[in-house]
């Protein structure tokens, strides 16, 4: 009979490590955190019950250091490891190593992970399983002759993609025959440098594409269910920015078909764990398998909000050998959910990363349907070494408009000072007529022109504030013996300045 783990090591950092730590605590499992030099004061360390030092800040020497992580797991007697997302989450060598060391990896076994990791493999498998894939080649093109011939068959516009790839690296859009060769060579060299594997395959380019993914759960007893979709078409530089569920673009029939296909895709590789099957959906609602993420997604919370199912707890139960607690019939998504990814980036300066100290923080907790999965706290210094995701603000509503209006309210209460964040950016997305109507595709942000907001009122307030401060500071000098409360504040102000100057 399945037995629950006593301790789980979380081989990750930031908000996702915090997320997993909380799930462990709610299950009575002791969470064990690991941290790099830069993360000595990180929130995931503060919230863990145990924490161990990994090494220098560079990922290769800390969160990607397989030997060290295995060593700590053994020392701390953690019988299982949760990889979060990123870092080692889709590294099948790490999974193999865990399998050898007799440590449970909370995720799929290494084989399906390997298949899904290599795009040409997975395309072949999916076709065999009767899962529709984007028209194109199933194998990497052999040479430039082969390339030109295959390109002719597929037709233009087309995409050249790295077989080992992902995340837009080694990808090229080819509009016409003329650009084919040059693009191919660029793609090859980029693929080589990113994945040290130059092999490239061809995909038909889908116009006005939607990026929609299906959440699935598969246990070790062969049960697989789908938990509805997530609309992820709001992207910038192939980076998801905002997600929502259900998708305003899908009809019930397509939704169900995609769910059933996703289950088939998972079954085809003997998948177990939570997983996500990503689809490209064209403007006519035709959908094609894009890739499968064999791990927890950043945007998993919106599915949790409409189903009530805690996906991280499910991952842990599945890994421990428990059967799923629910069948497909039990899954009845309820209401609407939206997620905004709060990044440490400056929306007014071309989304430049903005690491640094958070000197002031007010989070928008409170009220129905608000969730803030955050990895930061006031006084925390956002490190330069890792990705800039600070927090995920999630809202739920009975209607789509309630979820959106709740998000606008929550954003208006979200105050992060000391670094720049994308909080203000979301207002312009959420209030954009095309978003509000729900008619958008992956080109939305690129097409969206930034309309400038009228801030006269705020400007006046700012000038008045400056006036008040300079008046009171001047007064402080002439009359040192003013009322207690007041002088107290002023001295505080002074002290503050001194300590800032250190």
């Amino acid at each position: 009979m399945a037995k629950m783990f006593r301790k789980i090591l979380i081989a990750n950092r930031g908000e996702i490590a915090v997320r997993v730590i909380r799930a462990c605590k709610e299950m009575g499992i002791t969470p064990v955190a690991v941290f790099s030099e830069a993360d000595r004061k990180a929130l995931h360390v503060k919230l863990a019950e145990e924490a161990y030092y990994l090494g220098p800040s560079t990922p290769s020497q800390s969160y990607l250091n397989i030997d060290k992580i295995i060593e700590i797991a053994k020392e701390a007697k953690a019988k299982a490891i949760h990889p979060g997302y990123g870092f080692l989450a889709e590294n099948y060598n790490f999974v193999k190593r865990c399998e050898e060391e007799g440590i449970v990896f909370i995720g799929p076994s290494s084989e399906p992970m390997e298949i899904m990791g290599i795009k040409t493999y997975s395309r072949q498998r999916m076709v065999k399983a009767g899962v529709p894939v984007i028209p194109g080649t199933l194998k990497p093109v052999k040479d430039e002759k082969d390339l030109q011939q295959k390109a002719q068959e597929v037709g233009y516009p087309l995409l050249l993609k790295a077989s080992a790839g992902g995340g837009g690296k080694g990808m090229r859009l080819v509009e016409s025959k003329g650009k084919l060769l040059s693009s191919y060579r660029m793609a090859q060299s980029e693929a080589q440098s990113s994945f040290d594997d130059p092999s490239i395959y061809i995909e038909k380019y889908i116009e006005e594409p939607h990026h929609i993914e299906i959440q699935i759960l598969a246990d070790q007893c062969g049960n697989i269910i789908y938990l509805g979709e997530r609309e992820c078409s709001i992207q910038r530089r192939y980076q998801k920015v905002l997600e929502e569920t259900p998708s305003p673009f899908l009809d019930e029939k397509t939704r169900r078909e995609m769910g059933e296909i996703a289950v088939r895709a998972a079954a085809a590789v003997n998948y177990r764990n939570a997983g996500t099957v990503e689809f490209i959906v064209d403007k006519d609602g035709q959908f094609y398998f894009l890739e499968m993420n064999t791990r927890l997604q950043v945007e998993h919370p919106i599915t949790e909000m409409v189903t009530g199912i805690d996906l991280v707890k499910c991952q842990i139960e599945i890994a421990a050998g428990y059967p799923l607690k629910f069948s497909q019939e039990d899954i009845k998504p309820n209401g609407y959910s939206v997620e905004c990814r709060i990044y440490a980036e400056d929306p007014d300066d071309n989304f430049m990363p903005s690491p640094g100290k958070i000197v002031y923080l007010r989070s928008p907790g409170g009220g129905l349907g608000i969730r803030d999965d955050s990895g930061i706290y006031e006084g925390y210094e956002v490190p330069l070494e890792y990705d800039p995701l600070l927090s995920k603000l999630i809202t739920w509503g009975m209607s789509r408009s309630e979820a959106i209006n709740r998000m606008l309210r929550a954003l208006s209460e979200y105050q992060i000072h000391g670094i720049k964040t994308t909080v203000p950016f979301f207002k312009s997305i959420l209030l954009h007529p095309r978003f509000y109507k729900g008619v958008y595709n992956t080109h939305f942000i690129a097409d969206m022109q930034k309309e400038d907001v009228d801030d006269t009122e705020a400007k006046i307030a700012a000038l008045i504030a400056a006036g008040v401060k300079s008046y009171l500071d001047s007064k402080m000098v002439v009359t040192p013996r003013s009322k207690k409360k007041e002088s107290n504040w002023k001295l505080q102000g002074r002290l503050q300045n001194i300590s800032n100057r250190l």
């Binding site: 990363p353 800039p388 208006s412 105050q415 307030a461 700012a462």
Partner: protein
């Protein structure tokens, strides 16, 4: 009391008269405002302007106030018009491009002495797992490029200058 500030290259004159503790009349652009203020933690103000509420974070360093009004940021300068315009003129002539974030230099496209157009990328700075092109705010000649590829630069340090 009369105070004058500069915001977005424009001067604003304030007249401020304290009524009772933390309550004052302020005249700005011929409009009169009844203002009351509460002091929360250091640098945090709760401002009430004719009944309207504003949450303010304000910091003064040497020549300007950094003011957050709810999530909007304003830089309010205190220096005199002459100084100000002086600096403006200076800006026209020569521009030192500083970095708004720390990071590592991974590419440099140009060399000192090269011609450059406004908006053209000069180098690539990597931070937080992203590569960011640093562009020139104006056309001209690249006078200096300070860092080398592989260098680590701090926030505010000058990357290159265009003239």
């Amino acid at each position: 009391m009369n105070i004058s500030f500069w915001l977005d290259n424009r001067e604003f004159r304030l007249n401020l008269e304290e009524k009772k503790k933390n309550t004052m009349d302020i005249i700005l652009d011929q409009k009169k405002y009844l203002v009351s203020v509460e002091f929360l933690r250091n640098n945090e103000l709760l401002l009430n302007v004719n009944g309207k509420i504003y949450n303010i974070i304000i910091d003064f360093n040497t020549s300007f106030y950094s003011v957050y009004v709810d999530e909007k940021f304003f830089k309010i300068e205190k220096k005199s018009a002459s100084q100000f315009l002086g600096k403006q003129r200076a800006k026209q002539k020569k521009a030192d491009i500083k970095t708004s974030m720390p990071g590592r230099i991974v590419k440099i496209f140009l060399q000192e002495g090269d011609k450059i157009k406004e908006g053209q990328a000069v180098l690539v700075l990597e931070a937080m797992k992203m590569e960011n092109e640093i562009k020139s705010p104006q056309s001209g000649i690249v006078k200096k490029i300070i860092p080398n590829v592989g260098d680590y630069v701090e926030t505010g340090s000058t990357l290159f200058s265009v003239e």
